[in-house]
Amino acid sequence: MSLEADRARLRDPDLSSADLFAIGSRHLHAHDDATVRFAIVGNLTIDALARAVACSLVRDGERPCMYLGAHGAYVQELSDDASALYAFEPDAVLLALDWRPFAERDDAVTFVARLWERLEARGIAIYQHLPEDPPERLRGIAECYDAASPRHRVATARERLLALGAGRVRFIDTAWLAARIGSAAWAPPRYRHTAQLPFDPKHLPAYMRLFAAARRDARGTAKRVLALDLDNTLWGGAIGDDGVEGIELGAGTPRGEAFADWQRYVLALRARGVLLAVCSKNDPALAVEGFAHRQSLLKREDFAAFVCTWNDKAAALRAIAAELGLALETIVFADDDPVECGLVCRLLPEVEVVELGRDPSRFPERLEMGFWFDTQRATDADALRARSYTARAALERAAASGDLAAYLAELDMVGRVFAPSDPDFARLAQLESKTNQFNLTQRRYSERDLRALRERAVMAACALRDRHTDHGVVSSLVAFVEGDALRIDSWVMSCRVFSRTLEAFMMNAVIDAARARGVRRIVGEYRAAARNGVVADLFTRLGFERSADDPTRFERALDAPTPPLPTFVRSAP
């Protein structure tokens, strides 16, 4: 079978481990005209993973000649100048060590670093697995405190390897992959007992992709551009048909939340230096409107290239490459539509394609499992792009240092309290039904109830955004005017926005509304339930007095003018 055919099969996202093994077997020693001589040594059997490494090299256009070290003999092979490994004259060596050598002794990292020096002296590039956590729990948390425990030793070893190896060694992030898959599924003991395999061969395709990322970093062929479709990729629905108000994005529905979270992920990549591009079949003027959606985290100016045409996407991607002055090989194209993905795959084999599928909650995972934007060290250029990230990190430090007031001030929160109308009731009913913690009376109004009550009740909804995100509608309050009092019958708030002084902001608005209606006091109720202890003292914190004869009742007189409750949330202009 030809090299090109193998490359195509290795690019298939559904590549099976059986196919990988068969293809890898053909390329272990196949190439006389090798472009790279790659040696692999390890503490366990490397036969299976060596095939994945060979496949990874073939996939990305290299012609490898592989050397597989003798089982478990990595120390001898690397220490002995006369070893078969050095006779092979490798360009690069992979040290495929799992967690075990690092759990056995304290000085394992020092020992490994000496092996690195031997390779460096010969000008051989070094790749090494980052050791995964030991799967055995033994006595649990106590192991974390015991400096000689496997768990403690391996965690320490990872840090030391990264520190000592920075700029010298390219690490294969097996620690992450094993954790992502789960240590029990990553390395079931039966594969080690049967053939000393370091992990279940099912995971060879994922391992191949992970290895490829480190290799791209070494060759300077890392991906730089994420080209994204729009409809059903960055929001739910079609902007052209549904309009900016009709697309699904942000708080309110699970899908909308998932799209917003995916946008957050994409922005995080941008902050790390990944260029974003739009590649969409749309009217450009309409497409831009999507980014004006009030819950769109992505804005038009976040995109370095913006190509909306009715031409095929292969042509659009060529236009993006030209606009950015970059090769097609630097682009990763992500789209929900399998037809578009298939077309780009066929017409532009230079471009990597990620078919996102239909479930936006899986988009980040779909993209991440390709490891496209992996890099071993962030560059200066990345740091320049990362300004927003740096600012956010400073904020998190403030929060961690205990200065909550400074933290809240820097969140730059903008709130809006408003009387709900028809389109809001579904979201408010959802809050009423789902909220268990900030829920004062456990009276849960349905959408129908809310609609029916709209004439009789005083209702308030509250939306919040901050410098990081738009939270959408996060609180619902239903009250009734009874005599000279406004009685709060139900008040719920999403747990995501607890402890931010939003409750004070909202109460200020309720007090204003009550005054406008001419009532003289506000009455609140707190009925204890299984999970609402967090608001047991809410009304006293908001300046209410507990009633002497009914401990569930709280009252705040409006006779005298009072200063507004202090809050870090300011009103939307």
Binding site: S17, A18, A22, S25, P201
Partner: protein
């Protein structure tokens, strides 16, 4: 033997699917070595959603024993 199992074995052992029969085994198939036996274990586990027991890992030496192991995991029509 089902088409599914036949295709799976053909891909793994790099054989023409038509050459695989109920009599195919490691004895009469040079590519059926110990490494491929393990790949077979992993592939069967993934394909049929089962987890093999440790003594079954070394019994995957013929089509007949594969069918037997699968049956013991409740896979009646592999």
């Amino acid at each position: 033997m089902s088409e599914r199992l036949r295709r799976l074995l053909a891909a793994l052992l790099e054989l023409d699917p038509r050459s695989i029969s109920a009599e195919t085994s490691a004895e009469n198939t040079p590519s059926w070595d110990s490494m491929r036996e393990l790949m077979l274990a992993a592939t069967l586990e993934g394909e049929y959603g089962i987890a093999l027991e440790i003594d079954e890992m070394e019994r995957l030496r013929s089509v007949a024993s594969i069918l037997e192991v699968l049956r013991s995991h409740g896979v009646e029509a592999p």
